[in-house]
């Protein structure tokens, strides 16, 4: 059992490092989500983001432009990382409970 606890403590450290790594990668990627606006039957891409409860729309370009594609990929990657960060945090919670009991906060 002591071996198991030792391994779990090590895993907890690893997960905390992973949490920081995911946060660092998420910070590098653009915030917000993409919104397509149709103006005179032509589709234009906008990046919608909010700061201090204020919503801002930033014009990106035509839907098929290279920059739009790059932005789409980056946002998809950010969402993937955010999902994985959630998993990391839930694992941290689960292992902290096993190792230290219910009272310890993460």
């Amino acid at each position: 059992m002591r071996t198991m606890i030792g391994v779990l403590k090590e895993e907890l450290l690893r997960l905390k490092e992973a949490e920081q790594s995911y946060l660092r990668e998420i910070r590098k990627l653009p915030r917000g989500s993409l919104h397509v606006k149709k103006i005179k039957k032509i589709a234009y891409l906008y990046l919608v983001s909010s700061k201090y409860s204020k919503i801002s729309y930033r014009y990106v370009g035509g839907v098929s432009e290279n920059e739009s594609k790059k932005l789409k990929d980056e946002i998809a990657l950010r969402k993937k990382y955010q999902q994985l960060l959630k998993e990391v945090r839930s694992n941290i919670k689960r292992i902290t409970k096993i190792v230290y009991g219910k009272r310890r906060t993460v």
Partner: protein, 229 residues
Amino acid sequence: MAREEQFELLLQVLKKFQQAGVLNSFMLIGSWCLQFYQFHFENPRALPVFRTMDVDFLIPNPNQIKDEVDVPTLLKEEGFVLTFNRSSGIVKYDHPELRVEFLVPEMGRGYGGPLEIKKLHIKAQGLRYLNLLTTHPQLISYKGLQVRVPKPAVFALHKLIISARRLNQSKQKSDLETAVGLLDFLYSRPNEIARIKSVLRTLPHKWVKTILSVSEKHFPRLNETAGKL
């Protein structure tokens, strides 16, 4: 995530490496070897089942890699992120369920830090005694993958050696548990006993001494075998 799902993720990583033509440059070591030993020995229940989250890839000959492969990008596609340790310079790749690390055998004076393998765009950590594993490889086929692992007998002996060098007690215990569990299983197979003998014959005297000093307490049958050499 259950162990099955973790294993699925590992298989995805191995598949990516195989498709990129880099899997044959790696040897899978660490606790995940045991999973492949289970397939090799057709799922015996006697094999130890203990797995950590670390997946260690040993690169036996870093200078002989010819083709350029961007390994970090392959891992990134599977959701891994780079974790960099500033004090040691060691680079690891993290996922919520697994951590991938690259290792190289350290010889002589050592590398004085992680070894950069430019062809693969990675940095590998040098560790002692890994050349013992590289000299006894075994290829295991599983679901179309050709996975290189060390021979089980060698893996168990290596665990005994490194357990003597561990400062972390829980790691030392887990090494011993794995080694003893695996040796216990291997001793039920005459050809594996013969392999243990042949490996012990080829090892430096100091290494054998270290192995036997550990096994004396935890697996005395190995000392009996060594006595008959």
